[in-house]
Symmetry: C2
Subunit: 197 residues, 2 copies
């Protein structure tokens, strides 16, 4: 490609990132080399730093740089609610909503017979242990609306039945959504869960 | 975002790369942290290496890790042809075509009255010097088909008039292109340059 081994290797590595392909990786690398002092060096430093310090919270599975993450350490967030999410990206999405004030539990995936992923692989036993340890009163299942996500939600609901209040995110029309562009399942769900005005 | 300063900073830096936005930067960073040993560390190392060694070829402006790039050093490519391109990305695009066997000259941009970019800012004097120094017989102007690109091509053609054979890339229908999707200018150019069968 560029007739230079290191630059080619850098482009190859960048092209393997999700969302980037060979063309955008080339553009990104040329951009970085052009802004060497301001971007390339700081980015490399930051990557080293994150590689050395990033770790999963031992309690909830969130990403951070300490054994117990800031959310689990914060007394303000010990309101008896735990929101169960599939992965860290989902936790970040919930946090961007600024609506949930409790703590999280990151499963690290979903149950999957096909991929032989069972409850032990998913931090589900840890979730069950947290119910008593943190005096949890409500578990909100914020799993993706996929078959595996819903199977996992049912399994967790079975495990926690009777011990806590269980809830899941409402299904319906997204804010700003147009009916014409929604799939049939979403419209059925929104109709079934209609609200009286 | 992620409730962690370093990880947030890394996402912010990645989001500033061309072709990436906040969402794809988050996905890329989570992917990198998940593959820390295999991807995050090597990527950071490679970035440091490239930041320390990458430089422009003193002769042609290509990117490499030596003062004179491999293409300029290769005797095989001293065939009397120089292909003039706007930037390194264009040089790489030409090299991917595997069709050009000569050397390159990277201008580093185009003439632009608006941005006050004149011939001295563009490595055009160096191009003129190379004509004699490398016994160049043909200069191929592979500049983009934009107004600034064509202005620059005309200026260079004026400078080299009578000293070398001048040519530019053919304009016409791209391989695999459909007429219905081509702009009027391309169709006109392809018609004007039609070939007898």
């Amino acid at each position: 490609m560029s007739s230079n081994r290191d630059i080619d290797a850098l482009i190859d590595m960048m092209a393997r990132l999700p969302g980037l392909g060979p063309r955008s990786a080339r553009r990104a690398v040329l951009h970085l080399i052009a802004k060497r002092e301001m971007q390339l060096m700081p980015l490399a430093d930051l990557m080293h730093k994150v590689a050395a310090t990033a770790r999963e919270c031992l309690n909830c599975g969130n990403l951070g740089t300490t054994d117990i993450c800031d959310i689990c350490l914060s007394e303000k967030r010990a309101n008896g609610q735990i929101c169960v999410v599939e992965d860290v990206a989902d936790l970040w999405a919930m946090e961007r909503g600024h609506a949930f004030k409790g703590r999280y539990h990151v499963l690290g995936g979903t149950l999957s017979a096909l991929d032989q992923i069972g409850p032990e692989d998913l931090r589900i036993p840890q979730l069950v242990n947290r119910i008593d340890a943190e005096s949890v009163t409500e578990v909100i299942l914020a799993l993706n609306a996929t078959v595996d996500g819903q199977t996992t939600a049912h399994y967790i609901a079975d495990q926690l039945e009777g011990r806590v209040t269980l809830s899941s995110l409402a299904q319906g029309v997204p804010i700003g959504g147009e009916l014409d562009y929604l799939d049939d399942g979403t419209i059925s769900a929104a109709l079934a869960a209609r609200k009286h005005l």
